[in-house]
């Protein structure tokens, strides 16, 4: 393909705003190996046909060869804290019921009654058994058949053959994954470098502080890809430029053929390189102080100290270490600056984006919705550290559902983040509409070599998974 032999430029910096990799090297703490690691994957750069985002046959292919065959993020352990708790995980038209069946044992059952098909679990619920609301067929938590009313009328039903069918379940760091393919290799292979990189973050020591489920009028891949790059910040989030290292973001991909992982690191408390060599560091630092302070009403907001030995980034990081240390009775003194303030987001194929570090500890999940490739669901949660000092584990926030035509700003618990999400959301239906209107010869994406390489990688893996 013409142009693809050209050298890849690994980001764009300014005097005021160095590349993310440079900032991490200048950190006040030695960054853990995961943060210093770089990926080596290079995409062959095949073009992505726009029909992938709306073709019903393609969505059907995904349902059969992707969602029924791969490890995928379903929910968190704290969503179902007690034995007998269950929650649905619904991907397109397929749905599973994830049940806590023991202190640390989980099972995933197909969410359909073996009598006449009724969905068994609509939302978070609990009980000692699973009972269908239609005729009360009932199963034990281990999936074995417990009771059929008017048992005499079902002589053909052998109890041993009427256990609820299951998918495989794997857990890591408090996250629960499922794979409907019973012959699949264990989860650990699909996690790739994640387990190693997240050791210092301990995702299992966190709880869900808010949890949003948003319906979107766009294909699930359109939504996912809107969150895989910081290239769109300059246009879509222009009000964040004064304190966001968008163009200086570092992108990495690790792919050993089984684990398909990518990452971006977008620095905070630095001006966008687009603002030029003379852009104000003081403004960048002050805006970052203020953004973090929004989560702590009443706390006095520091300002940039030009006379300090510490860089602006280190000042924000140090303040966060102290505030979070006091607030949570935990010790953050060895956590590097980048892990305290930057946006560090990983992606595991096909639907899982766990963020690393205290900067913005979000988790994204992207899912098709029903059988319409023009619609999808994006789930967003914030995972906060569990308080130390023997305090009890706070309960998981309930899921707030936001409809197609509702905005994130209907969720007061997420504060100013709602504006950022609503900016992203405003693009998505427009993308979905536009890509169907493309001239036939131009119905492909044109992706950036560096900043959009995670999207290239995603499609490489998707093609291979679908046998294309």
């Amino acid at each position: 393909m013409a142009g693809d032999e050209l050298a890849v430029v690994r980001g764009f910096s300014s005097k005021a705003s160095p590349l993310a990799s440079e900032l991490i090297k200048g950190d006040t703490r030695t960054a853990p190996p995961g943060l210093l690691a770089t990926g080596s994957y290079v995409s062959p750069g095949k073009k992505v046909p726009l029909s992938r985002y709306y073709d019903r046959a393609f969505a059907k292919l995904e349902q059969e060869k992707l969602w029924k065959k791969v490890w995928q993020f379903a929910c968190r352990e704290e969503d179902i804290p007690a034995v007998g708790d269950r929650i649905p995980y619904t991907v397109g038209e397929t749905s599973f019921m994830i049940v806590r069946t023991g202190a640390s044992e989980f099972r995933a059952f197909y969410n359909a009654c073996l009598h006449r098909g009724t969905r068994l679990c609509d939302g978070l619920s609990s009980g000692e058994s699973v009972r269908c609301p239609f005729h009360a067929w009932e199963w034990n938590l281990d999936g074995s058949l417990k009771n059929i009313p008017s048992r005499w009328d079902f002589p053909q039903v052998k109890t041993s053959e009427y256990s609820l069918p299951e998918a495989k379940v794997g857990t890591w760091g408090g996250f629960i994954f499922i794979n409907p393919d019973l012959n699949a290799a264990p989860l650990s292979a699909s996690l790739g470098i994640l387990a190693e990189h997240f050791k210092t973050f301990e995702p299992e020591q966190r709880f869900t502080a808010f949890h949003i489920s948003k319906k979107v009028r766009a294909n699930w891949k359109v939504v996912l890809e809107a969150f895989l790059e910081s290239y769109h910040v300059v246009e879509t989030h222009s009000d964040a430029l004064s304190f966001t290292g968008d163009a200086s973001t570092q992108y990495d991909i690790w792919d050993d053929g089984k684990g398909h992982i990518s990452r971006l690191i977008t620095p905070s408390a630095v001006p966008s390189p687009h603002l030029g060599d003379e852009a104000s560091i003081a403004n960048a630092v002050n805006a970052t102080f203020q953004a973090f302070a929004l989560a702590m009403p009443g706390v006095p907001v520091p300002t940039f100290d030009a006379s300090s030995q510490l860089s602006g980034r280190a000042q924000v990081a140090e303040w966060r270490r102290q505030m979070m240390g006091v607030g949570l009775a935990r010790d953050f003194s060895s956590v590097p600056d980048a892990s305290m303030i930057d946006s560090i987001q990983y992606f595991m194929f096909p639907n899982f984006c766990p963020w690393y570090g205290e900067g913005l500890p979000l988790v994204y999940q992207f899912l098709p919705y029903g059988d319409d490739p023009n619609e999808s669901v994006m789930n967003v949660r914030l995972t906060a550290p569990v308080p130390g000092g023997g305090a009890p584990r706070p309960p998981s926030a309930p899921i707030r559902h936001i409809g197609f035509d509702e905005a994130f700003n209907t969720a007061p618990e997420i504060g100013l983040l709602s504006i950022i999400f609503d900016q992203d959301m405003s693009n998505l239906p427009r993308i979905q509409a536009g890509l169907k209107a493309a001239e036939e010869g131009r119905a492909v994406t044109t992706l950036g070599r560096y900043q959009e390489q995670r999207i290239r990688h995603f499609h490489d893996v998707l093609s291979a998974t679908l046998g294309l």
């Binding site: 879509t236 004064s242 002050n286 203020q290 929004l294 009403p297 007061p412 504006i419 405003s426």
Partner: protein
Amino acid sequence: MQSPAGKSGPDSAPDSGPDSSSKPAFVGIAKLADLPEGQQLSVYVGLKKVLLCRAGDRVFAMRDMCPHALQPLLGSKVENGVIKCQKHGATFDLVSGRPTNGVTNAALEIYAVNLRDESIAVAVR
């Protein structure tokens, strides 16, 4: 760019005050002297950014966020009582907030302004 003053906590929803049914009160947010003719000023009021535009004797106040793609309006052209967003060209009537072209159907949030004793007071909803 100015940043959130953080006067109210994250508990207050960006789009609706604690009680949006009652009339919002006028709050002084700038001095007339700081806003020369033809100039604009963006000021945080709680979590909301408010844009003040002076055109002759009049001061218009609106949310500093274009409803098209939720971008800041600061720096956009004001002419004949209409503001034209510099991003993708949506135009809004500065009295009603209604869009005057087809870029978006959504209206711009407009706030009542009170000029008294050289101070600009705005009723932010």
